[in-house]
């Protein structure tokens, strides 16, 4: 069994990889972002980025976490109805700047970490990428 095929089992889920748009996606409601980060560390995956998208009609956010595993691009999707998700910064150092960027762009909170300004200046309001300004 390849490392890729092994990952759903390591995460304890039944779903398998779906390839779409150049990415191997593992789509499951049972995924926990910290478990994913731990598993990718075990597999020596290289963290690439998180893509945050604001869903229509203020229904929440979609976060897509991407890792590289020997040239294969892996994706894990998390749908948020609120504006919070656990940080994985303590598990994956490379996530630092993108969590800070998403916090500033979409006013999302990554729980369990502190922020310093990245793209914005001290005192500026987060949420500059939202479709409407945060009130």
């Amino acid at each position: 069994m390849s490392m890729l095929e092994n990952i759903p089992e390591l995460l304890g889920i039944r779903e398998t990889w779906v390839e779409s748009g150049g990415v191997h996606w593992l789509l499951s409601d049972a995924l926990n972002v910290r478990d994913v980060a731990r598993t990718m560390n075990e597999c020596h995956g290289r963290f690439i980025t998180i893509t945050a998208t604001e869903l229509p009609e203020k229904s929440g956010f979609r976060l897509e976490y991407h890792w590289d595993l020997d040239g294969q691009l892996l994706g894990f999707t998390f749908l948020l109805t609120g504006n919070q998700i656990e940080s994985i910064y303590d598990l994956c150092e490379a996530v630092d700047w993108i969590e800070r960027e998403i916090h500033e762009g979409f006013a999302l909170d990554f729980l369990g970490r502190e922020y310093e300004p990245l793209l914005l200046r001290e005192g500026e309001k987060p949420g500059v990428n939202l479709h409407e300004e945060v009130v």
């Binding site: 150049g22 040239g71 691009l73 150092e93 200046r121």
Partner: protein, 360 residues
Amino acid sequence: MSYKIPMGPYHPGLEEPYKLDMICEGETVCDAKLRIGFNFRGIEHLAETRNYIQVIALMERVCGICSNIHTLTLCQAMEKLTGHTPPPRAQYIRVVMAELERLHSHVLWAGIAAKLMGFKTMFMTCFELREKVMDVLQAISGNRVNYSMNRIGGVNRDIEDPLAVLAMVEALEREMVRTVIPIFTTSSTARSRCAGIGVLTHERALSCGVVGPNARASGVGQDLRRAAPYAAYGEMEFDVPVQNDGDVRARLLVRALEIMESCRILRQALTKLPPGELHTGDRKIVFSTGTATARVEAPRGEVMYSVSWKENARNPSRVHVRTPTFVNMPAIRYMVMGARLADTPLIQASIDPCYSCTDR
């Protein structure tokens, strides 16, 4: 007693703005904090207001040096959503443009590095060579910086006389072999200013997710042209230079060797350029609903675009860009820790940072 030295945002060694606050004891840097965002333009947000033609022109302006790479990656992502696969000639032309851009970027970097080493003659030599690379880019595209070569399903312009371009590339290669490569690999000035400074260990390169020549100089051998080939890279023979020392000299050597590999790829692409169409024609571009992702090995490392579109929508619903410097820059903190203050401009320059890309 420790004290803080703020370097930037008007930087002594580099022309773009960013800030490094260094905590020093005597002449030694103990820790550092980076501040970016001085070029933040909200380009990703702006992309949601542009159609599929306008968004290419917009993303070409994320970066002045690797502008072609941005449109290439964006077009590759949009091609997955539209089902337009570029014809073979277009794939080869994409390789030629990408490698010329790598040459231009690496030679520009070599010039700046030489200047920071105090080796001004070398700076002038590199910039003269860079002009010649830009002449080739202009001969192909009509432009020296933003080339407008990529479109969904192919390229906008042909290389009508590949042998003439090949002659220009060979002249460049001869000059590189005669001056740039030997000086950077053997001169005592380069060695004394670069060896053993700004070390990024293999472990730290992995934990920071560093990419491109910076990763390869710390023994991380990944190159997307080899690991996940795109365009016509699957048909090219080339080596991926890797060094293990992780210092400024290793980063210098990797880029110097990559210049030679780029010339090798260019020779193959120009001599084997297949006949045929440049693009998939002028049939209507129709997007299917979904998200597509593309990755390309830019001169500074992996660029990734994630593009979301809804069927019948005029504009993308999301364009996310992950540039190489965005992941390379945090590693500067580890490179300067323990370094002498006087070495820090060169250490910072050694990652070949692009703040314009990073801030977007």
